[in-house]
Amino acid sequence: MPTDRIDIRHVARLARLALTDDEIATFGPQLGSLMTHVDALAKLDTENVAATAQVVPSRNVQREDAIRPETILARDVVLQNAPQVQGPYFRVPRIIAEEG
């Protein structure tokens, strides 16, 4: 059973999703069938296919190091969709630990 390979509670925690036991019972088999579908790819012969991270054939798409003032947003625009604002800042629930 492909679901054996997924710790659905762990995946939910990583995605910050609070799933109920009922939801886990529902989504578990659904994810399992997705995995089964993806497993079809494993049957392909990739012996002569180079590992790839991108399907777009281009390389080295870069920009010159220059400021584009026209792209900078006004602060009231920046903050207009913030759930909470304090002065010029986004206000968020207290940060617990450092990360990254």
Partner: protein, 488 residues
């Protein structure tokens, strides 16, 4: 502390903000500070549909940084998403590099204050983007007691290079020397300001201990929150001592993150939820791969000049400058370049040149607030002065006077000597006449000398120098004084 029994093993990781004009993936300005949330755009705020485009200069800076330490530049590189949630990171992933960094390997050679040298291998340097900045909304601005945090995204998306060092470092002093060399080198390469106080250099240290001679690594603690070189030194020393105490007390070091408490002078366990990180890295589909051709590598390599370590080693090993003075020169690139020109002009008389550069000239520069390299003294004028001194054409008192005049007027040392009549009198007859005069004028002092008070020699030499208006060769004056006094 039973230092000889235990050995510390330290690996440093540091984040360095690149000094580009614009951010890593968008055209917002890369500047420290400023009004909160005024240097942001749809890309660095992660608004839906906005797409990142890498800054070519940031990639070039990475190559410069890597090549300066002899890193390998792989022909293919890419960006990956590092997935985690944190409020100061707008996308809920950080664009970083996982398995194909822009530079791999390399060695950082460094030196300590006392002149001993060491080296630390680099694992890799990879390119990523910085996060926003959070402050805490309690009354005193500290995390404790805060109910919410405030976010400024001006820093979000600033190009950041992460340098990962191998665990080759064995002491707090070596760790600081390693970081200082990284900082000097990045500053000189022009890739970063490397200011710890502004956060453009941030570092963590992995510290463990083991019995001296052991080959396996002990359990490490990761030390964070070190905000200056001084705190790096103190934090690592304190953590080594703590681990030795734990182990000698029969305990076990546990793997954890510990924060340095500057005021208390100790590290504290940061009891964050210590679940193993699971970042689910995957290639960023918004960014196409980077190919770095051999031509590009060679073009960047050709722009590199002597590194600060190479300069230090040349000063000490080739020019015979002592470690402390060599470090002073290396720490000021403009001064070092000026010094090099003066040494070249003086036919390699580095010792005499460095004595002036870090002596009288440094004092004058300091007093006036004008750096030597921006002042009126040319390296050629100093070389002339050094030649005049070493050929005994002038004495050290005249040399001091000439330095002052060169500083305020510029020009040529020889011209000043002629104009001011400062040429040293080394003619035996001429100095002899002055010596006779001085002895005749000071019969009491002569009597004191004959009675055994030989310390009056200083007074007599001074009198001769004064009578010659500072121009007599002082060693000749002393020699003649001794001869004449002995004959009396």
């Amino acid at each position: 502390m039973t230092a000889p029994y235990w050995e510390a093993v330290i690996g440093i990781e540091c984040h360095v903000e690149l000094k580009t004009v614009s951010k890593m993936f968008c055209g917002c300005p890369n500047e420290f500070g400023g009004e909160p949330n005024t240097k942001v755009c749809p890309v660095c705020l992660a608004l839906p549909g906005a797409l990142p485009v890498p800054n070519a200069m940031a990639i070039e800076y990475m190559l410069r940084a890597g090549l300066a330490f002899g890193a390998t530049i792989p022909p293919h590189s890419k960006f990956d998403r590092k997935n985690y949630f944190y409020p100061d990171m707008p996308k809920n992933y950080q664009i970083s590099q996982f398995d194909m960094p822009l530079t791999q390997g390399g060695v950082v050679r460094y030196w300590l204050e006392d002149g001993t040298r060491g080296e630390c291998r680099l694992t890799r340097i990879h390119l990523e983007e910085d996060t926003g900045k959070s402050t805490h909304a309690s009354a005193d601005g500290r995390l404790a007691g805060a109910t919410s945090s405030l976010i400024d995204f001006n820093r979000a998306g600033v190009p950041l290079m992460e340098c990962v060092g191998e665990p080759d470092i064995r002491s707090a002093d070596e760790a600081v020397a390693f970081l200082e060399t990284l900082a000097r080198t990045f500053r000189e390469l022009g890739v970063s300001d490397v200011k710890m106080e502004e956060g453009s250099l941030r570092c963590d240290a992995n510290v463990s201990i083991r019995k001296r001679g052991a080959t396996e690594l002990g359990t490490k603690a990761e030390i964070k929150n070190m905000n200056s070189f001084r705190s790096v030194r103190r934090a690592i020393a304190s953590e080594i001592a703590r681990q030795i105490e734990v182990v000698e007390g029969g305990g076990r070091v546990i793997q954890e993150t510990r924060g340095w408490d500057e005021a208390a002078g100790v590290t504290h366990s940061q009891r964050s939820k210590e679940e193993a990180h699971d970042y689910r890295y995957f290639p960023d589909p918004d960014l196409v791969p980077i190919d770095v051709t051999a031509d590009v590598v060679e073009r960047v390599r050709a722009t590199l000049t002597e590194t600060p370590y190479e300069r230090y080693a040349r000063y000490v090993d080739t020019l015979g400058v002592d470690s402390k003075r060599a470090t002073q020169l290396v720490d000021d690139a403009a001064l070092a370049a000026w010094f090099d020109r003066a040494v070249a002009a003086s036919d390699g008389k580095a010792q005499a040149v460095v004595a002036f550069v870090l002596g009288d000239l440094a004092r004058l520069a300091n007093e006036s607030g004008t750096p030597l390299a921006a002042g009126k003294v040319t390296p050629e004028a100093l070389a002339e002065l050094v030649a005049l001194t070493s050929s005994s054409a002038i004495n050290s008192k005249a040399a001091k006077q000439i330095v002052e005049t060169l500083w305020s007027e510029g020009g040529s040392a020889k011209a000043i000597v002629e104009r001011e009549g400062l040429a040293q009198v080394s003619d035996r007859g001429a100095v002899e006449a002055i010596v006779d005069e001085v002895l005749a004028a000071n019969p009491k002092v002569v009597a004191d000398y004959k009675a055994g008070k030989t310390n009056v020699m200083g007074f007599l030499t001074g009198a001769v120098m004064k009578a010659s208006r500072g121009k007599a060769n002082p060693s000749l004056a002393q020699e003649l004084l001794k001869e004449k006094l002995a004959a009396r």
